[in-house]
């Protein structure tokens, strides 16, 4: 049984149904890439996994380490070991990166983390993400550049040591050097801590640095294609339109078949 199991997940906002039956399994130590065009539902899936209140689950379930977390509060999911690196990290004025991290770490623990232990973890994470130590004294995401925000997300991930992390377009808005640093950081957390990762992306770039084991393609709220990294190359060659045509044809056929059976 996989650590994170998503079964037949249907999700809607006030206006629209966005996810229309998603099945996905992710275990520790696995790197998955979820690709798809804008509006296909990738970010909705990411936010739903962490329990964003704007998304309503109408059908299906999310199970993490054997526990049904479909209705769990976001902080309970985080404490269980899920993490979301936000596409648009939110500024928290007045709270330094370091203080926030201390709070978040302590939220998971019975006893507050010791000063020395915290400092050594922070130094390790700072080195991993190649940021200045002074960075952690700045107010979280407040006035950060796009690249700094994304680094701060992965810095938090390194500190909080989740078991499965969802990276929601962490690669967008990063220049090539920053992308490499961030991606290598993710790869190392996978290699060293056995992190399970779901990388959500439009592009192939980040997959040159993080070695995905599985690739899933999402269209219109469903995962329509699954495979290995060879799928990335195919997407690069053909684009989503080709897949959409094939998938559309397939769906049309199955509808026809259904009609025929009635």
């Amino acid at each position: 049984m996989a650590d994170l199991e998503i079964r037949d997940l249907h999700v809607r906002t006030e206006e629209h149904e966005i996810l229309r039956g998603v099945d996905l399994e992710i275990s520790r130590g696995e790197i998955h890439a979820l690709m798809g065009p804008n509006g296909s539902g990738k970010s909705t899936l990411a936010n739903t996994l962490l329990g964003h209140p704007a998304y309503e689950i109408t059908q299906g379930s999310i199970t993490f380490k054997g526990e049904d977390i479909t209705a769990a509060e976001p902080h309970e999911r985080a404490k269980a070991g899920l993490f979301l690196a936000f596409q648009y990290p939110v500024a928290i004025p007045g709270v330094s990166v370091a203080n926030f991290l201390r709070m978040a770490i302590n939220a998971k623990r019975e006893q507050p983390i010791g000063v020395k232990e915290f400092r050594s973890q922070l130094e390790h994470a700072v080195e991993l993400l190649d940021v200045d130590r002074a960075f952690t004294s700045r107010h979280l995401n407040d006035g950060f550049s796009g690249g700094e925000k994304k680094r701060a997300e992965i810095l938090q991930m390194a500190m909080l040591q989740p078991e499965v992390a969802v990276l929601d377009e962490t690669d967008s808005g990063l220049d090539i050097d920053a992308l490499r640093t961030v991606a290598e950081g993710v790869q190392r957390l996978h290699d060293e801590q056995g992190l399970g990762v779901l990388i959500i992306t439009h592009y192939q770039r980040i997959l040159h640095y993080v070695k995905a084991h599985f690739v899933h393609v999402m269209l219109d709220g469903r995962i329509v294609l699954e495979g290995g990294v060879e799928l990335v190359e195919r997407l690069e060659r053909e684009g989503y339109d080709q897949i959409r045509q094939e998938y559309g044809a397939r769906e049309a056929r199955s509808v026809t078949a259904g009609d025929g059976g009635a």
Binding site: P74, H75, V90, I92, G94, V95, M103, A104, A107
Partner: protein, 481 residues
């Protein structure tokens, strides 16, 4: 939030175009024409003192007598701003209150011991009800000429030093409670820091009310000699009793040439029905500097007139303030950034939050007098509403009578940011913790400016307690939207 960006038709002064700033406030057009008598409706309710006080050479006895006559003549005040704000003190049963008496215990009140941090300090004076119950001053500082004593003692022992400054810029008859203070004050605090003396640890001036039925007329006079440098922390504290009490305070601080002072005030009158109607004035002399931060953290009905006046060229000030109202509290704060001469600098930055059914009004006035050229000042007010029934009015206004100046203001009013709450929840913080982080973060820029960790911790703890007690309220608000 109500924002009323200008007052019109006031005397001969006019609006100068403020500097185009990054603050988002629009430049204001000059006030046009005359306002017809009788139809004039001012959005702003208060005026700066902006001038000489009652202390014009009269003796203390004469001033007390004049104030007593005003007290007899005046009614309990009601302040109304056209249409949307009233501060009404008429529910105060003044006749039932006793003033001028020492407290029963005669020692440092429990609420003071509980609240004021134990830390290194230059001196401390504590008044409970109508009498000073404790006064201490570092012996070395005493030897170097520092004076810290009750104002009563100052008039007995240092009359020549105190009297010329007493009520120099404070009036005694604008309203009944101001008159009561000037007529009947007892105890009080007097602090004198001689020229050139720099003192790191704070002087503490404490006013406490332990029981209902007390009218406390507190009076403080602080003199900073040339190039002196010091800190003053005022604490206004009461026990959580039930019943009425009054603190009508008057505070004046005069900074002479080159003096530098960091003045902080922590006010929390507790859960009792405590009325606080006070006037505080800071006069910044030539090349002097004052950093002033009142933290108004509780009181049944609080009206504060806080005026920071730069009276000589080269004076600079930073006027900070924070407030947090809860329950059914009513806060009416009027902060004046007054420039009587230039060049001078000002920077006003206030932040406030409201829970429960509380009402808070912050009126911030930048006033630049004729001739105060090369004045540069900026006022910002940020407010956070934490309950659907709470209300915060923020009313910045600018009154400029010089042309070579920049004066502008900006502000925001906000509610809890749900995106930020989800973000923090996704890191493992539960919802109440996330809310606390947001509100603490909202105040933190000002708390950090206290540059005094023991005091900062007291402020943080008080904010955390208020949030904890408003938790249900905040939850309801969040889920109702």
């Amino acid at each position: 939030m109500t924002a009323v960006p200008e007052r019109d038709g006031v005397g001969t002064s006019r609006q100068a175009a403020p500097a185009a700033g990054a603050n988002g406030s629009r430049p204001q057009a000059p006030a046009s024409g005359q306002t017809k008598p009788g139809t004039h409706r001012e959005a702003t309710l208060y005026r700066a003192l902006a001038g000489a006080g009652a202390g014009d050479g009269r003796t203390l006895a004469q001033l007390r007598e004049a104030a007593a006559r005003a007290f007899a003549r005046l009614e309990i005040p009601v302040w109304r701003r056209s249409g949307f704000w009233t501060t009404n003190v008429q529910s105060l049963d003044l006749d039932a209150l006793v003033h001028g008496q020492a407290p029963a215990s005669g020692t440092v009140p429990e609420v003071v011991a509980r609240t004021v941090p134990e830390r290194a300090r230059a001196g401390r004076i504590v008044q409970s009800a109508g009498a000073v119950v404790h006064a201490e001053l570092d012996a070395e500082l005493r030897d170097r000429g520092v004076i810290l004593c009750s104002l009563e003692d100052a008039f007995r022992e240092h009359r020549q030093l105190a009297e010329p400054w007493y009520s120099k810029r404070l009036t005694i008859d604008r309203n009944k409670l101001e008159a009561a203070n000037a007529a009947f004050w007892s105890g009080g605090a007097f602090l004198y820091v001689p020229p050139e003396l720099a003192i790191e640890d704070p002087f503490e001036i404490v006013y406490a009310i332990e029981e209902p039925g007390v009218a406390q007329y507190g009076r403080s006079l602080v003199l900073g000699g040339q190039c002196s440098e010091f800190r003053v922390h005022e604490y206004d504290l009461a026990e959580d009793f039930s019943g009425q009490a009054l603190h009508a305070g008057a505070f004046e601080l005069y900074l002479q040439d080159g003096a530098r002072c960091r003045l902080a005030q922590l006010q929390d009158w507790g859960a009792g029905e405590v009325f606080d109607l006070s006037t505080r004035l800071v006069d910044v002399g030539r090349d002097a500097y004052c950093h002033w931060l009142p933290a108004l953290l509780g009181g049944h009905l609080v009206r504060q007139h806080l005026e920071l006046a730069v009276s000589e060229p080269g004076g600079e000030m930073a006027f900070r303030g924070l407030f947090f109202t809860e329950g059914s509290e009513h806060l009416d704060a009027f902060a004046v950034d007054l420039h009587e001469t230039g060049p001078s600098g000002g920077d006003v930055h206030w932040r406030g939050a409201a829970t429960g059914e509380s009402r808070a009004s912050f009126e911030g006035l930048i006033q630049i007098d004729p001739g105060a050229q090369q004045t540069h000042t900026y006022l910002q007010i940020h407010a956070m509403m934490l309950s659907p029934r709470a209300r915060v009015d923020a009313i910045p206004s600018v009154l400029v009578s010089a042309d070579d100046v920049s004066a502008s203001h900006g502000g925001t009013v906000g509610e809890l940011d749900e995106a930020a709450i989800f973000y923090m929840q996704s890191r493992g913080l539960d919802r109440p913790s996330a809310v606390r982080v947001i509100v603490e973060g909202f105040f933190e820029p000002l708390i950090a400016e206290l540059a005094d960790e023991p005091l900062a911790q007291v402020v943080r703890a008080k904010i955390a307690r208020k949030l904890a007690s408003a938790r249900a309220d905040i939850e309801t608000y969040a889920t109702s939207r």
